[in-house]
Symmetry: C2
Subunit: 252 residues, 2 copies
């Protein structure tokens, strides 16, 4: 039986402010929780139906596991239709290692505020082996339940950093990392030569790349289109640019 | 003042079955409705706040316009936070012109069932000038409000067809149109030579390309990755493949 205090605690983690204060987040769904348990992240507790615990006992060594009823799961779930399991895990905080960043390609998200887009970007980055994503102050919180659902486990492999735009880009500049912005007026991605090390800057859904970023960007790249639609979705644009980077790495 | 019957009629269009029966759909939001009014689609009625009507009078020639109160708009809206305007328009039905299809690249969606993905695919196709999208029986309904929101006006420019998989692909075969499937085991997109005319087949989020499609597919293409994430989101994969097709067209 869950106490009222336990239930309240978990429900509160739906809220970004409480997540930041407590340093924990909630992951839900069979697949997502399995990926979480297999990752290097620290899982505090698992709340699951008995049938799920029996099936996944091998994953639950050393993890506090609380068997709950369907009704209890419903009460603590952040989803409309709760699944069989919910886990509370410690929000990871990574130190930036610029020598590591200098080895490859990273993403910087300038105020990407739709959680679905952020989750899809994380999943896509993971596919292409981009393992560091830097999020500006107004980018959606990566530990929001919608991000977790759309990132599909990739959130537990890719390192996400919450940074101050100016401070981060200033340091990239000092480390001589190319800062490349995605913008409709840039050089066509089909003729651009990608240079490593690089940070690719993607702008917000409605306002593009912000003014502070623009001061640091060395070059701009664009995705040619027929210009029927006004713009591409930011996750789609990120996917296309990551793919082009992958292509150029494979061709070298 | 709206009558109860009018309100009921509009609310019903939230539901796919009623949309199909009545042959109408609902578009909401300032931008989307403006794009709808500028398109070739037949708009039946516009329900808007007075301030919106005054600002957009130039778009409203020959369109039945009903000024509503905020409360009334709330009652008929399909959105949680209704905007200033809602329009009811006739669902377009297009005849397939295979001679037109033979001129370029089209998309076939095999049971893509997430409306957000479908909307993003439509917007992306529009960006790259792919103007025909064929949807299999279990693909999400393109006139669902979530599709309309994420397609952002592109739904009124790209032609969407609801087809029987077998019948459609059989005819493509007869017209000697290459049927290309996106699949993880296909030829790398970075070395594949795209051939026009072509129909690109994208599979469902959870089950990939269905068995009926597979019987017709001539070749498969894949997007290389580091295989950390299990798969790419279907809209992202469509974006990358459309971009690669664009690149090959520009290089020819």
């Amino acid at each position: 039986m869950l106490t009222q205090a336990q239930k309240k605690n978990i429900k509160q983690l739906h809220d970004k402010i409480h997540r930041r204060e407590q340093g924990y987040f909630v992951a839900e769904g069979e697949k997502v929780v399995c990926e979480l348990l297999l990752s290097s992240l620290e899982v505090k507790s698992v709340y699951a139906l008995n049938q799920w615990v029996e099936k996944n006992n091998n994953l639950l060594n050393k993890v506090e596991t609380i068997v709950v009823s369907e009704k209890e799961l419903q009460q603590i779930s952040h989803l409309k239709t709760p699944n069989q399991v919910l886990a509370v895990a410690k929000t990871p905080h990574y130190e930036i290692d610029f020598l590591e960043i200098k080895k490859g390609v990273s993403l910087f998200l300038s105020n990407v505020n739709d959680p679905g887009n952020l989750g899809t970007i994380i999943r896509t980055a993971d596919w292409f082996g981009v393992s560091h994503i830097f999020c500006s102050e107004h980018t959606a919180d990566a530990f929001n339940s919608k991000v977790i659902q759309s990132a599909m486990g990739s959130l537990f492999r890719v390192k996400i950093y919450f940074v101050s735009t100016e401070e981060f880009l200033e340091r990239c500049k000092r480390y001589e990392i190319t800062i490349l912005g995605a913008d409709m007026n840039g050089t066509s991605v089909y003729s651009y030569s990608f240079k490593c090390p690089m940070v690719l800057v993607m702008g917000s859904e409605s306002h593009g790349i912000d003014e502070v970023c623009k001061r640091y960007i060395n070059e701009y790249v664009s995705i040619p289109g027929k210009h029927n639609a006004e713009s591409l979705n930011v996750a789609i644009a990120t996917g296309i640019l990551c793919s082009e980077i992958m292509r150029s790495v494979l061709e070298q």
